[in-house]
């Protein structure tokens, strides 16, 4: 694979002055809100595909549900009724192979409130 890319680099030569340094990029998106999260995921994947990058589609990590069970009553009086609150965290992982600038571009465009983005860049 590296060879192929090396070859590509050689062909492009002077035209591509900025280095096409490819890295493996892993984008981890997490959020409480599924809708926003899915939207961001879709946008990212679409953006990456437009730029002809290799994308490994959004991997859905199982949602983490944090349960909080509390007494409804502020005092101890009354029937012991309990509230069951839950807090869901959804996580999606997208893998790309591209240069970091492109990723930066894409990520800056698709911004949705409440979605946390973490980008890990490694060598190819």
């Amino acid at each position: 694979m590296a060879a192929v890319y090396g070859g590509l680099k050689g062909k492009l030569g002077v035209e591509d002055a900025p280095e096409l340094q490819l890295n493996r990029i892993r984008i981890t998106l997490s959020s409480k809100n599924v809708k926003n999260l899915e939207k961001v995921c879709a946008d990212l994947v679409k953006g990456a595909k437009e730029k002809q990058l290799r994308v490994k589609g959004p991997v859905r990590i199982p949602t983490k549900v944090l349960h909080i069970t509390t007494r409804k009553s502020p005092c101890g009086e009354g029937t012991n009724t309990w509230d069951r609150f839950e807090f869901r965290i959804h996580k999606r992982v997208i893998d790309l192979i591209s240069s970091p600038d492109v990723v930066k571009q894409i990520t800056s465009i698709t911004i949705e409130p409440g979605v946390e983005v973490e980008v890990t860049i490694a060598d190819v």
């Binding site: 069970t69 029937t79 860049i121």
Partner: protein
């Protein structure tokens, strides 16, 4: 494996960099985010991480930074200019880093200034008069403008601003108007200080303003009503003409509620005199002679039997009837005063004791036999038949039953099961007589012993209950949790 083991700590070389999107510090817009590195690996990604003041604290001061590294020499010119513009001192410190963008967003709406829709205009000082010229249309400049005409036009369209001057109380309004005209009453207030005058005037304005702004219409209504009431009271308490009914009422009132002496006098002195109008009315019929036959006749009868009697007779008869009525009334009035009917209520004897059931069911007391209410239950039933202190117990073994190993027979029994009864019966038979006799000839010590025994049992029972509760507390908690969430809220297990 060997190769890997040779490396420091047995860890893989961490050749990656992790960046995270953080909202820019001090930014109003939460979507304004930058990538910030969150790990400490050696791997560098040129051109990815954004240099930010946020980052400056984390990385070394010696690292290449952006414009905002204050440690590296004087601040750039534009930064310095901005600091100076804000009025902050130019001492080499970048005060801009402490600034926060103010952009009105949904979250920050509370901190932004929104002028109120119901803002009241400033009260005018008294020597200023305001006119509302919004309706004046400035005509395009014609060749010759007659000043007088222009003035008229303007004056016609402008309306004086009434809102401020309007007062609820006419007195206050009058006062205000006077002060307006006389320019503050400067002659009188020469001796007083300036601020006193202003304060007094301000008070008056405030009062007016308050009533004005808040409850203008309401205030009007209230005050107008009050005024009306006052006016009403001042006038003649009986504004309307005395009517026939008023006189009648007065007479009636006098008669019924006056002193008894007066009453008697009135009655004995003469006939009750009807008011003149009434008599006049009746006189019309008085003259006509109406004969009352033996049998009762309605006017309808007369109509049917026209041949028999004339219409005059009809009228006569009805008039006669009315006359008779009047006579009867007078007679009744006169007679009844003399004859006093005294109603004496018979005092109820003890023999006539009625209960609710008798009254309601309308049967007599002979049929219904209401039972006497007795004290409910026997206290003796609560106590076990066999006492711990009894010497004459047949069985020396105290039997423990149940999971908790309690001496069931010695506990207060609500319901005696068949088993217990069987056991208790022979003892019962023996002790019954003894018990009864004991109740009669009970001495102080025996009574004390009995009471002590009872107390002891109760204490034991309580202890046992508590233990039982504690034993299964965790179970009940779990059950309660489940029940509270799934079952109806009335279930209470703990």
């Amino acid at each position: 494996m060997g190769g890997r083991g040779g490396r420091g700590g047995g860890r893989k070389p961490r050749s990656f960099a992790t960046f995270r999107l953080f909202p820019r510090s001090g930014a109003a817009d939460p979507n304004d985010r930058v990538f910030v590195r969150v790990d400490n690996n050696d791997y560098t990604v040129p051109g990815f991480a954004d240099e930010d003041s946020f980052d400056a604290s984390l990385c070394d001061p010696s690292a290449d930074g952006g414009d905002l590294h204050s440690a590296s020499g004087p601040l750039p010119e534009h930064v310095r200019r901005e600091i100076l513009e804000l009025g902050l001192p130019d001492d080499g410190y970048n005060y801009l880093s402490h600034l926060r963008e103010l952009r009105p967003s949904a979250a920050a709406a509370a901190s932004s200034f929104v002028p109120s829709a119901t803002a009241r205009p400033e009260p005018l000082p008294l020597d200023v008069k305001a006119y509302d010229a919004s309706k004046v249309r400035v005509a395009p400049s014609e060749g010759e403008l007659d000043e007088g005409r222009a003035m008229c036009k303007v004056a016609a369209k402008t309306a004086p601003v009434r809102r401020i001057e309007k007062a609820v109380d006419p007195d206050v309004a009058r006062l205000l108007d006077e002060s307006d005209v006389s320019h503050g009453g400067s002659e009188d207030d020469v001796l007083e200080e300036d601020f006193v005058i202003i304060a007094n005037r301000a008070e008056g304005d405030e009062l007016v303003e308050e009533d004005d702004g808040e409850e203008e219409e309401e205030g009007n209504g209230v005050f107008s009503d009050a005024d009306e009431e006052f006016d009403f009271e001042e006038d003649d308490p009986k504004p309307r003409v005395r009517r026939l009914l008023d006189e009648q009422f007065d007479l009636l009132a006098l008669e019924e509620y006056g002193d008894s002496d007066n009453d008697v006098e009135v009655v004995k002195s003469g006939e009750y005199e009807l008011p003149s109008e009434v008599i006049d009315e009746l006189k019309l019929f008085h003259n006509q002679n109406v004969c009352v036959d033996e049998e009762y006749r309605t006017p309808a009868d007369f109509v049917r039997r026209k041949l028999d009697s004339s219409t005059a007779d009809e009228v006569d008869e009805s008039a006669h009837v009315i006359k008779k009525c009047a006579e009867y009334a007078e007679r009744y009035l006169n007679d009844t005063v003399e004859e006093e009917v005294v109603l004496v209520s018979e005092s109820s004897d003890e023999s006539e004791v009625w209960d609710c059931e008798t009254i309601v069911s309308t049967f007599s007391n002979l049929d219904n036999h209401p039972g006497k209410i007795e004290t409910p239950g026997n206290i003796k039933k609560r106590l076990p038949k066999v006492f711990p202190g009894e010497t004459a117990t047949t069985n020396d073994i105290i039997k423990l039953h149940g999971k908790e190993k309690l001496p069931v027979e010695y506990l207060p029994q609500r319901k005696r099961g068949g088993e217990k009864e069987k056991k208790g019966k022979p003892a019962e038979a023996l002790n019954a007589d003894k018990f009864k006799k004991g109740a009669e000839k009970e001495t102080k010590e025996e009574k004390k012993a009995r009471k002590a025994a009872v107390k002891e049992e109760k204490r034991e029972a309580r202890k046992a209950k508590k233990e039982l509760k504690g034993l299964y507390k965790s179970e009940t908690q779990k059950a309660q949790k489940v029940a509270a969430v799934t079952g109806p809220s009335s279930i209470r297990l703990m």
